[in-house]
Symmetry: C2
Subunit: 449 residues, 2 copies
């Protein structure tokens, strides 16, 4: 009775019993994903999808983050989820590698502009949606992603359905139908990663989950066991799914506190490498005065085997490819003193100084590093050796971003995606979302153009 248990849990959950720390983590997740949506709003995949849907989108009720036009809540859910995830710069649930917020927060905000809800209502539904999404992800991991399912999309549709079901006040049976209608739409393939089609799966997960709950409210019935049934989600898209822990400790053990936020818009294995280079650059500046790249003889990067497998990429042709190149990440971090969107642009990939320094970087395995750790060793022409070990990269579970760092990331993303937009009123309203009487008017502050 897993489907029933999860449904009942969502229906019966009460805001009063949500711990403060969990409420706060929900705000951190939401600030982060609205930020990544602002940053992604101008991306071609987002723009072209919005343009494709525009002729069919009515009423003009819901804000498209970072854009001027409004669309139906269904289409806004699609476009905003897409924009939030398009750069893979959003949050990560370790273990499953789900990006939890993109499929869940955008449909809630979009629906909040259709049917009034408080910020607390939205946060509560968000916490529950992420819980369902990540618990399902846990149950089918690691098989599911390895097999080729884009887990953010496949599990996200259930999170969105549960979240919207909660704000609709569905009873347990209709909540079960919402999960059933979500199961009929669970989709997303890893083959599409690195292309715009990935975003079609993510957008659809948000839209599909919202639709699933609306259908359930209107009496579109689903099966009794959409999740654990013999031809249901867990059995078909999992392999020996972990059913025992799926509904254990509901309301006591939560998934959202495990959420992490990416500090750099690139492959997560590069985080400790960039940290180490930025730290070396700062130290050397103090110790030796500014060190021009010409004085560098070689840079050796040491880390976990995954680092070499995923990111030992000396030659790169595009910004997208540079996001998984240790050589590129090291070069721009040293040269520019940061690793943001600008440093992973096509232009920077072609730049002569980056090209020259990239050629001096090599990647090596070294025992003792976890995926969140790395060591970087810089040899200067005069024989000086600079060396830095990082054990818990910024943004990892062991070294989470502070609220201030998440705010800074938000501002950077806003500046990248929406130059000229003043992010402060929105940022301030999001940090006080739990006190907002009307969540819809908060997201309306994300309109721009």
């Amino acid at each position: 009775m897993i489907s029933r248990s999860l449904s009942r849990f969502v229906v019966e959950s009460s805001w009063r019993r949500i711990p403060d720390a969990l409420r706060h983590e929900a705000k951190r997740s939401i600030v982060n994903v609205v930020g990544t949506a602002l940053g992604g709003s101008g991306d071609a995949a987002a723009r072209r999808s919005a343009e494709t849907l525009a002729p069919f989108s009515a009423p003009a009720e819901a804000t498209i983050i970072g854009r001027r036009e409004r669309m139906s809540c269904l289409d806004a859910a699609f476009v905003n989820a897409l924009a939030g995830n398009v750069f893979d710069f959003d949050d990560t649930h370790p273990g499953t590698i789900i990006h939890p917020s993109a499929p869940v927060a955008p449909p809630l905000f979009a629906f909040a502009q259709r049917r009034a809800m408080s910020g607390a209502e939205l946060l509560h539904a968000f916490i529950l949606g992420v819980e369902i999404e990540c618990r399902l992800g846990n149950a089918v991991s690691p098989f599911h992603y390895k097999r080729g399912w884009h887990i953010t999309a496949t599990c996200g549709v259930f999170g969105a359905a549960a979240a919207i079901g909660k704000v609709l006040g569905l009873d347990a049976t209709r909540m079960l139908w919402a999960l059933g209608n979500a199961s009929a739409q669970s989709c997303g393939l890893v083959e599409t990663l690195g292309t715009m089609a990935k975003s079609v799966g993510v957008g659809q997960s948000a839209r599909g989950g919202l639709l699933a709950a609306l259908l359930a409210r209107n009496g579109v019935e689903g099966p009794e066991r959409p999740l654990e049934g013999p031809r249901g989600f867990l059995q078909v898209m999992g392999c020996d799914p972990d059913l025992a822990s799926l509904a254990a400790g509901l309301g006591e053990r939560w998934e959202l506190p495990r959420n992490t936020y990416k500090p750099y818009p690139c492959g997560v294995v590069l985080n400790p490498v960039i940290d180490a280079v930025l730290s070396l650059r700062e130290q050397s500046r103090i110790d030796l005065g500014p060190v021009p790249a010409e004085r560098i003889a070689g840079i050796r990067v040491f880390g976990h085997p995954l680092l070499g497998e995923r990111a030992d990429r000396p030659a790169v042709a595009s910004g997208r490819e540079a996001q998984v190149s240790a050589q590129h990440a090291v070069a721009v971090a040293w040269l520019d003193g940061r690793a943001g969107f600008g440093e992973f642009s096509d232009a920077r990939v072609q730049a002569r100084d980056v090209l020259a320094l990239r050629g001096k970087v090599s990647v090596h395995h070294e025992a003792g590093h976890g995926v969140d750790g790395a060591r970087v060793e810089i040899r200067l022409g005069d024989g000086t050796v600079l060396d830095q070990i990082v054990t818990a990269a910024r943004g990892s579970s062991g070294n989470p971003l502070s609220d201030a760092e998440i705010s800074a990331k938000f501002r950077t993303l806003a500046a990248h995606g929406c130059p000229g937009f003043d992010p402060e009123p929105l940022l301030d309203a999001l940090w006080r979302l739990d006190e907002a009487p009307d969540a819809g008017s908060v997201i309306a502050l994300a309109a721009f153009g």
Copy 2:
């Protein structure tokens, strides 16, 4: 290069080279599915889905079959595909058990009301869409359905994308992207069968395929190998997929001629049983005069093992359940002289005469029968034994429905779903679809209410 080959095939196909018999089969499929959509248009799943989507549906451009309102082409694709398949009374592609037309014809008709196309254009795109859909189904069968994928929905989204891509005139690269955007949306679980959630998957396959092609036209790019790539559709949702035959004989060997049309709105294993009972009833009426059910001592049904596995169901509670009860099918076929919607209604399930006769029916395995064959033996109280063997049930590959029978089925469906609707103008226009200058005005004849 399977994805590229299929894309190029669709792009390069020319109507002039489509054989006449294939063109005619396309019309048979389309008459059949528009008929089942008329019949299903009043079903609760169709009505509730349409009502859920209505507040978000604009412009009012595309006919909802059997209803008065118009919706956007995306939503009309969803609702009409749902209605066409809701009773599982539509067509069947043997081997895969795909219902090919429901995901492909409705988006084409809906889009024809947005962008003018001739009947021939529509038929051509339909033939190609069904070809892609069924070839993909062949490649992943039988694993795919057995594993729990609702193959009509999972493969249908590709058929719809290819068909719409064709009428959009996409080039080969954009057609490939359309398949990629479809792959990101391929979904549908067998666990939902027997509930309204099944229809959510089927509706989404039609809508998703249409959207996939529209996105591709607007430059939303997909991967190079959405089908055969290591994390693409065939590998993730198949097991050891038959890649060799997938793109072999394109344009020479076609799938649509294998399509079959159901004569009765119930499980396909019951077709030969109903045929046998109707035949016995007719014979006995001539030989013995009308034989009242009270004179029947017992009825034994013999068939393929699947008959017993799927349909040995003496007690049934609902019309939906009666669709897979041999006992019920035998009883109503004898009592009513037909096996249509009325005979599989909740009311008929509860009727005293049906209840009494159902109790006299037993199901047995007998060697020598295929799934399209059965034997029925009726013992009368006076010792007379009536016996009938059927080797190729009506509607099977060996005994296809004639055009006249498909027309008769169309009329019956229209009368069931839309009492008072005159089906003749629509029926006539559909049979002459290849000559129609404007396919959109043909489907506009399906509006009612």
